[in-house]
Symmetry: C2
Subunit: 270 residues, 2 copies
Amino acid sequence: MSTAKAEPDALKAAARPAPGAAAGSQTLLRGLDILDAVAAGATDLAALSAALGTTRSTTHRLAAALVERRYLTFVPREGYGLGPKLLELGFRAQAAMAVPQVARPHLERLSATCEDTIHLGILDGEWALYLDKIPGRRRVEISSRVGERQPVWSTGLGKALILDLDEARWRDFYQVGQARGARHARDLDTWLARMRDYASRGVAFDHEENEPEVRCVAAPIRKAGGAIVAGLSVSSTAQYMDEARMERLVGEVVATARAISRALGWSGGG
Amino acid sequence: MSTAKAEPDALKAAARPAPGAAAGSQTLLRGLDILDAVAAGATDLAALSAALGTTRSTTHRLAAALVERRYLTFVPREGYGLGPKLLELGFRAQAAMAVPQVARPHLERLSATCEDTIHLGILDGEWALYLDKIPGRRRVEISSRVGERQPVWSTGLGKALILDLDEARWRDFYQVGQARGARHARDLDTWLARMRDYASRGVAFDHEENEPEVRCVAAPIRKAGGAIVAGLSVSSTAQYMDEARMERLVGEVVATARAISRALGWSGGG
DNA sequence: TGTCAAATCCCATATTTTGGGATTTAGTTT
DNA sequence: AAACTAAATCCCAAAATATGGGATTTGACA
């Protein structure tokens, strides 16, 4: 039941087939697919049915269950939308992680002095996962979302998160990135050389490696004992982020990361 | 398949049987129940099985699907936790609503001058739904969560949301509240008299009607045209909120609500 | 009042889920 | 170091559940 319908392409993501996925929960998975479809912009039953490849009947039953549980909202003329239950669980999920709580005020302080987008994130397997974000106040905004994942090897935040690992691990992250089809691949040796430099300075940069025109300065956050538990980055478009400014930001970014680390119980820091 | 198991009672909420619920999606609903159970503190398969009343097998399959879709996290020694996908969808749900976006900076400004908990909410059927919250900085904190619902008739925020309705509607909200077993019921006439007073002043109070010891001052937020689209409240415990302070807060709260209304395009406001 | 599109409901069929129990994985004890 | 324990994970026949075609209702609009 291919879904290559007319879909405005706004409903891009939502890869249904599932990789080596766990089968045996079709109904549950379809329900979750509905959440994805709604998040991607589907608003009526027809769009949902098309996205799932199921009949109106089935789609309606699933959607109705989600509405009843407040995972979706439904307004007769308007259609479906993400529901308050997701708000609740989302904020709970964030609250369950200690780092964002502690970091928030520090991020806000940093945000007050720079006009750019600030991200807080952790390492999630082979990805960098955003846990919090303070939008910048420039005319152009970095389009990222809390809960989203970005490649480790190409983002400043990602590189900050793996600063302490050895070169073998660095290679792994680089290769995973290449395998997933890196957009602006650089050769491994250059990348490793930069990583060594970043590691020795305790900061990481992103010179438009992940996204053209987007640059950032990032630093690792450490918990008691010194292990890296999170990272912090300041991002902006190239026009606001020339080399000189990136260097000027380093002090602030590192200082903020250190302050958060201290709040988490890390007393080190030559 | 009755669920009257041993449940440690820590997993209180999660009323399974579902009221006049939509049947025909057992698997999906059970999956959602798992999310609730994890949110309520269950961390291992045994706890989840107990909460759902299903066997380890079934529970495991559902949980595995949720983990695969990142709605849950699973760490061998630690157990299950709410996953990053919920973060993503939660923040998206919030972003989909325009009001929180516009209101945030104003709420933060208000928060800077008062030490108390600030809530932003909208009317959701017969409930007041919290869309955003800035925690207070007092020793005791108001335990509320974004995404949660509270009765309209007994909360300051709720009353602010229905300030423009006529008396017949007010009665409806009051009666729904009574039907649901109000805790500190007041007689209808007194309540209506107060509502009239609130409506004429453009503020609403909560004198420990919803929760003993919790008081608040609330004001409605209006969109272009003047219709109430949201509300704003400042809450604290009685010890920090005597009558005098509540009166003193009115100006600030109303001013903030007005500022947000103006940002939403409302130009009215005698 | 009539028309049309979308949502909602119904029910026999067959596909999907279920759960008992076997197996594997890790951490702890002897 | 090997046996023990607890929890997670996997397997498969039986049975309950979800499915979707089509009928019906709802409500906006003419």
